[in-house]
Amino acid sequence: MTAVAATDDIGASELLALYEQMAVIRRTEKAAHDLFLAGLVKGTTHLAAGHEAVAVGASAALRPDDYVFATYRGHHHAIARGATPEECLAELMSKATGICKAKGGSMHLTKASAGMLGSYAIVGAHLPLAAGAAWSAKLRGSGQVAVAFFGDGATNIGAFHEALNIAAVWSLPVLFICENNLYMEYTPIGSVTPVPNPAADRAPAYAIPAEVIDGNDVVVVAAATARAVQRARSGQGPTVIEARTYRHFGHSRTDPATYRPAEEVQEWMERDPLDIARARLATLGVPVEDAVRADDRAAQVVAEAVAAARAAPAPDPADAFTDVWADGGSQWRT
């Protein structure tokens, strides 16, 4: 159904691995959704089903010691950088084994040991942080790059402007990857932005090169990211990548997303990133059974994750008073 170009230089086995990662994310998001409906996930969730190719494609082009900063819609980035579905779901389910000890929740998944330096819930706040990590890499001469993933809506907040400007002026090794899913919460980005590509069309204001890409094609994302990483590592500074994609669920929680026209939803559902990857695999001659087996493995990983997270213990109430300070505690007075 989906037409893909066969010209990108990605091998069959590598693509199969990326496909499997995407499948794991998709199933984790589905599980999160079901657990929310079942009342086992509290608070809120912002699911990234539909956005898998952005996270997996970009991560494929990064080194393990590179830095990634995500938004409250960040499950896919955590998993793409190596967080397990189990520790993520345990977090969502308020379990002691959660990736942030149940202190962060869905909006703050973080795996610092894998360079996944946090999910931030104030729109735009993490763009300067990614620039800061890139500045640090530059100061230390480490050759690392930093990536900030953010939504289309974040392009209209002040921090976006300040981050892009300083990144350009100091020629920082940072990638600004916009996941343009056409909507903020319930309002279309087009209704509050005077240019068609909210991230890419702003990049010239900072003399930063930009690309608008198909964010649903993992190979396209990986290739664009690789180009930007190459620029960054060779001292040529930041890049803006605007990846067009679409969410399969509503904005958060149980939002039915009725504000989206049915034809638009239909059109994007037909451009499911997993389908596109499968079509690519076929083009590369990978037998369909291999993809099915990858899917099955993903299903099993997530099923086991759900079971383990369900079985995990609740946090110790005393944990509420740890981790404020680096000494482990929270004492603020004598």
């Binding site: 509290k42 308020s94 929740g105 002040g158 903020m184 609740a314 109430p317 509420a320 404020v324």
Partner: protein
């Protein structure tokens, strides 16, 4: 909008917000609303539901995610003849537009020697207890208390929402209007027609003789529940609903402490820098001779707010904590 002003009807706090705004929009053509997703979507907390349908896009404006622009637009429009009601979706986001609340709106009248008037209302969803984590759960009424020049409103029930909204919108001074997330689903009597609650008048939510509990917004029902629980033990607690932090009705508090000689303050913001410190310090000064016991404060612990319910309940005030504090204070 459905008419929910009929006497005796019970409405939710959430509905009261929309009703309170709608009444002012109907009354005064200079009133206009702006904020993120407040229009067609009716607001993420459904507190502006029906406004777009009734008043249309000329009165109800959906904005980009640009909190500085939201408050800057509101202030600039207020300076030039309009009476904007701006929504900042979560009060935590005051941090990205704090300049307008701290340095612009509250100071322009003073620093121009009275030349400029800023009749603006900044509405926001405040407070925790819903498992929204550290960046979407804060009670930040104390941030605004630190800023002379802001009026600060935080209603605890639907009728007060409507009555205080009327006063806020009609105020010539900037007003921050805290709507509590934990109260949106709560119910109470609907406000009568033309209901106006003046700013700066505390309410005695429960009369009592043994100790005074000062509360605000979500801690009012909490204090009432604790007081009811302790009534069984023969304790008669008076509960004062401050309703506003500025103007701050210390006369009512001091009068009550004069009768009870014991004071417990229940606030949701963290203990360090919390508004209860200001109230406590006034009582420890002006009411020193009235007191027969230490002034006590139940506030959030001094940590960011954790996600898990079980952890969050450890940190924020609860009926249990208030009840225990009453017991300890009565045992003093």
């Amino acid at each position: 909008m459905a008419d929910i002003s009929a006497l005796g009807q019970t409405v939710t706090y959430r509905e009261a917000v929309a009703e309170g705004i709608a009444r002012e929009l109907r009354r005064d053509p200079a009133v206009v609303c702006l904020g993120e997703d407040i229009g067609k979507a009716g607001g993420v907390f459904k507190t502006t539901q029906g406004l777009f349908e009734e008043f249309g896009p000329g009165r109800i404006w959906d904005t980009p995610i640009s909190e500085q622009a939201i408050l800057g637009l509101a202030m600039g429009a207020a300076m030039t003849g309009m009476r904007p009601i701006a929504e900042i979706m979560f009060s935590d986001f005051f941090a990205v537009c704090w300049d307008y609340l701290a340095n612009e709106m509250p100071k322009i009248r003073y620093m121009t020697g009275g030349q400029i008037t800023v009749p603006v209302v900044v509405r926001t969803a405040n407070g925790g207890g819903l498992g929204f984590g550290a960046q979407h759960s804060q009670a930040v009424e104390n941030w605004t208390l630190a800023i002379p020049g802001l009026k600060i409103v935080a209603p605890s029930n639907p009728a007060d929402v409507v009555g205080l909204m009327a006063s806020a919108v009609r105020s010539e001074d900037p007003v921050v209007f805290f709507e509590h997330k934990g109260l949106f689903a709560s119910k109470g009597p609907a406000a009568p027609a033309d209901h106006v609650v003046p700013l700066g008048q505390a309410a005695i939510a429960r009369a009592g003789t043994d100790l005074t509990i000062v509360a605000l917004a979500v801690t009012v029902p909490m204090a009432l529940a604790a007081a009811d629980r302790l009534a069984a033990d023969g304790v008669s607690a008076e509960v004062i609903d401050l309703r506003c932090l500025v103007p701050l009705d210390m006369a009512t508090v001091l009068e009550s402490v004069g009768r009870t000689s014991r004071l417990l303050i229940v606030e949701e913001n963290p203990y360090q820098g919390g508004w209860g410190g200001t109230v406590a310090s006034i009582v420890a000064d002006e009411g020193f001779e009235l007191l027969d016991a230490p002034v006590r404060r139940i506030a959030a612990d001094c940590v960011p707010l954790p996600f898990a319910d079980a952890l969050e309940q450890q940190v924020i005030p609860t009926v249990e904590k208030v009840a225990a504090a009453i017991r300890r204070l009565m045992a003093y």
